[in-house]
Assembly symmetry: C2
Homo-oligomer: 203 residues x 2
DNA sequence: GCGGACTAACTAAACGATTAGTATACTTTA
DNA sequence: TAAAGTATACTAATCGTTTAGTTAGTCCGC
């Protein structure tokens, strides 16, 4: 499915250019020409490395999601307690350090692409599932019973997505307000966990 | 900007076909030919009514958002109390009665289009702002102080979007779970409102 | 160490197909 | 008859992709 030169410098720069082009002009306006211009290569090289444009798009999405996932795992590793891990994951999703500013606009492009491309759909599904799974684990560690932990995780995941759309697309709220909403939810979950704890427990 | 035959039968069927085509194949694969085939008209008619394809896309998005808004206003009118109005608005957003099943996939297409089209961006921004504004109003009526009402509204709006993405794109949760998450949030907001009420109050 | 065989990386140019949009003529309706 | 609506046939541009080739470097026998 993928190519066997994927570690190459050029193919990586093609992927970066693809993501950048999608972010600025949208996937509807993505052409092999615009990519080649941005990456300073010929359009033929695109097909040399990625066979088809569709395959390049998929690999670009996969690369971006993989990058974010690596960052999220790192954030989890650094979190001292469940709450810190949850906070870390969310912040990663919002900062997206590893990608250029403009690349932030790619999420809705992935979502819209997923509605008619099964492979991309699978990609986002797995990413979302892992996020819910991680949150569920953290909330259980925080002291919530499994049912509530799962619902809380779904809620957290929905909130991350919803606030992301609000920040990047709708733009009707201030950064401070979004942070407030998020912190309120965290302390609410913490309070809920405390209620369920039989024994007080140190972190 | 728009056309002046907008009330026409043909132009409406063109819009419907456009939305349907976008929902199934994505905006990247939208062509005047596929629209004309689906609507059983010639491509010339598209340009007769909508001048450019870009303008048709914009008008289609505008029509869809307007339809949903009308449904949401109707749901609000039928809600007996603030909580029922909130619930009604959310349910409308999820059922989208007025549109075909497939058209549900159009939201992410609008979001992705908005990232590089200012006019579409304005459309979704206004829609989101009205939703937050309505929720804020309802939460104030429920008894929340204005600051909390605004935060709660932002939270509700984010949750609607987030759960929508979860339902339509990511697909990792059951309908029942999403409803649970939503109901938990509503009762939480209600409890928060009761705390702030100086006097008990009948609905 | 040297020359020819081989290969990976890359490109210029051209391919056929498809695109949005137009010119124009025909048909309906009022 | 005049305007509105629709279709046919077309254009110029652009699309993704392919072909046929160049370049630069590596390997191997001698």
């Amino acid at each position: 499915m993928a190519n066997n030169h994927a570690s190459n410098d050029t193919s990586q720069s093609i992927i970066n250019s693809t993501l950048s082009a999608i972010a600025t002009d949208g996937i509807s306006n993505l052409t092999t020409k615009s990519i080649s211009k941005h990456a300073s290569i010929s359009t033929a090289s695109i097909h040399y490395f990625f066979n088809t444009k569709e395959n390049l798009v998929y690999n670009s999405f996969a690369y971006m999601i993989k990058s974010i996932r690596i960052d999220m795992l790192e954030a989890r590793r650094q979190g001292r307690d469940p709450l810190a891990r949850i906070r870390g994951v969310c912040e990663t999703h919002f900062s997206a350090r590893q990608l250029s500013e403009e690349a932030a606009n790619i999420w809705p492009q992935i979502w819209s692409h997923a509605t008619h491309d099964p492979k991309t759909a699978r990609l986002v599904k797995i990413f979302g599932a892992r996020m819910i799974s991680n949150f569920t684990y953290d909330l259980r560690k925080l002291g919530l019973p499994s049912q509530q932990a799962r619902l809380g995780a779904i809620e957290l995941r929905a909130m991350v997505v919803g606030l992301w759309v609000e920040k990047q697309v709708t733009k009707n709220t201030l950064q401070g307000e979004r942070l407030d909403v998020f912190e309120r939810m965290l302390s609410r979950l913490q309070a809920e966990a405390l209620k369920h704890k039989t024994y007080p427990q140190l972190e």
